[in-house]
């Protein structure tokens, strides 16, 4: 076939290169892309300065004679295994903090659910209120909450439980509400029409429908909660975080090393359990 075949005579074999329509907004979107890169670069530079980033400090801190790898690490080895039992005992306390706060947080988040999910809430203002409360609970970091609770409860692991519970209600409350908002509404409407009350509909259609999702979300948060419990412990809530902080301050690196091993084993084990349970729930 020749290029200048008459129009209309072109058969399937005629493959004149199709003319693309003009890219009208090409230059504009390229400008936007350059602008975005510039903004991100600017942000990074500002953050580096503001957070006092320092390359020399980084390498000195890690590799110099008094740095982590040439000073701290050698002094940490071998781990002092006489501290093993104490470490495990403290990690169990940390786990207890995590479990209690998860349980209370679960109850709190479920209790807010009838208000906090848009598709089942009895009134729009109550829905907004529930979501705002949750947003505030989420916005305050657990550690800051703990500082307040330490003032009122004193130095006890329970202060950490309360702090983690409230933060958890904020986090789980939102996740749960979103799970309910995504659920199939037909069973809910069918029971509504059947004359069931709001509480009955919630108990018999909503909760059974999302139960596994909620439990999976909770299990997913379990290791995060444990890690938070460790951190809160360091500030004064007790548990293994508290021990690590103490021994670090006393430069007992061999004991700290033992605690770190216990800590990592606990976190990995919890992660594993969480994965297994979630796989079961999804089945």
């Amino acid at each position: 076939m020749s290029i200048d075949a008459p129009i209309g005579a072109a058969g399937p074999g005629a493959t004149a290169t199709p003319r693309l329509p003009p890219r009208t907004r090409a230059t504009r979107s390229r400008l936007i892309a350059y602008g975005a890169v510039a903004v991100v670069l600017g942000l990074l530079i500002f953050s580096w300065i503001d957070a006092q980033g320092s390359v020399t400090q980084f390498f000195d801190g890690l590799f110099a004679r008094k740095g982590l790898f040439r000073d701290v690490v050698p002094h940490s080895l071998p781990p002092d295994l006489s501290a093993l039992w104490g470490g495990v005992r403290a990690a169990v306390t940390t786990l207890a903090i995590a479990i209690l706060s998860i349980a209370f947080g679960l109850i709190g988040a479920i209790a807010m659910l009838p208000l906090a999910a848009r598709n089942i809430t009895p009134s729009r203002p109550l829905y907004e209120l529930a979501r705002v409360v949750q947003a505030i609970l989420r916005a305050i970091p657990e550690l800051i909450m703990l500082l307040f609770f330490l003032i009122v409860f004193g130095f006890t692991p329970f202060a950490a439980v309360v702090a983690l519970t409230f933060h958890g209600i904020g986090v789980k409350g939102k996740l749960f509400a979103e799970a309910v908002e995504e659920m199939e509404m037909a069973p809910v409407e069918a029971l509504r029409v059947a004359g069931a009350s709001r509480i009955q509909v919630f108990l018999h259609a909503v909760l059974p429908g999302v139960r596994n999702t909620l439990l999976a979300l909770t299990m997913y948060r379990l290791d995060a909660n444990f890690r938070s419990a460790v951190t809160l412990g360091a500030v004064g809530g007790g548990g293994i975080g508290f021990l690590i902080d103490n021994e670090l301050n006393a430069f007992q690196f061999k004991i700290v090393c033992t605690y770190m091993i216990v800590l990592v084993v606990f976190v990995l084990a919890i992660e594993r359990v969480s994965t297994i349970v979630r796989a079961r729930l999804n089945a």
Binding site: E184, A190, A194, G195, A196, S197, H204
Partner: protein, 259 residues
């Protein structure tokens, strides 16, 4: 109708219902009466307002004007508990399966009786009172699903699940069943069986059944009355043997084709 004090109110009376979503007038003032012992099929193209009509009838949606009376009670006038008690006369069956998938067929059917249970007795989601379970078992037997009582609803086939949904309506002791495309997701055989069941509930149990259908042949074969709907209004309301094929075809002519 209405021949004296003995004659009960018709199960469902819809009068002049209008509904618009923004600019879009979906129902333009429609009226209909559904009688006991009758299976009414509603036909109409996508978006003509069939589902909206059903939802207005049980106040899952509030109509802009007009009224829906269930067994003599105007739903718009009721609130809270009295609304729930009045609504109990109606049961809905949807195209997508409206069962709680994680629960057994029996539990789903038991839920039909929730309105008759006190809050205290309905708090446990694992144990329904014996008399409710007995009633649910009877309902399952009525739809031929007794042997599947303990199967999780999520594992039932479409046709089985739809029967269980109908059993829930039966357990609810509803007077009216409103079914929105109950057989659209079913194979021809299952669809036939579900339609037979709905017709039998109307004819043998004296229920008033309204079914939105997208299969004119099923409507003509099973229904006692066929209602044609187009653009938010009723085009015809006749016995199946009076409906002409052209009338049905006209329901599905798109606006741009009609111009």
């Amino acid at each position: 109708m209405g021949s004296g004090a003995a004659a009960a109110d018709p199960p469902l009376v819809i009068e002049g219902i209008r509904k618009r979503f923004g600019e879009n007038e979906v129902l333009g003032g429609v009226s209909l009466t559904l009688r006991r012992g009758e299976l009414l099929a509603v036909l109409g193209g996508n978006g003509c307002g069939k589902s909206t009509l059903l939802r207005c009838a049980v106040r899952l949606l509030d109509p802009d004007a007009g009224s829906a009376r269930l067994c003599g009670q105007d739903l718009a006038a009721l609130r809270g508990r009295s609304l729930r008690m009045a609504r109990r006369e109606a049961a809905v069956v949807f195209q997508q399966i409206a069962l709680v998938k994680q629960r057994s067929a029996l539990e789903n059917v038991c839920c039909g009786a929730l309105a008759q249970m006190s809050l205290g007795r309905s708090l446990s989601t694992t144990a329904f009172p014996t008399e409710v379970r007995d009633r649910a078992a009877m309902a399952l037997q009525r739809v031929g699903m007794l042997d599947k009582a303990w199967q999780r609803a999520g594992t039932l086939s479409g046709g089985q699940a739809q029967r269980v949904a109908i059993a829930r309506a039966y357990c609810q002791q509803a007077t009216v069943i409103l079914a929105d495309e109950p057989v659209s997701a079913l194979d021809p055989r299952a669809a036939e069986e579900v339609m037979e069941l709905l017709a039998d509930l109307a004819h043998s149990d004296g229920l008033a059944v309204l079914a939105v259908l997208h299969q004119p042949e099923l409507a003509l074969r099973h229904a006692d009355r066929v209602l044609g709907m187009r653009l938010g209004a009723f085009a015809f309301d006749k016995r199946p043997d009076e409906v002409a094929p052209e009338e049905i075809e006209a329901l599905y002519v798109h606006l741009h084709e009609a111009a």
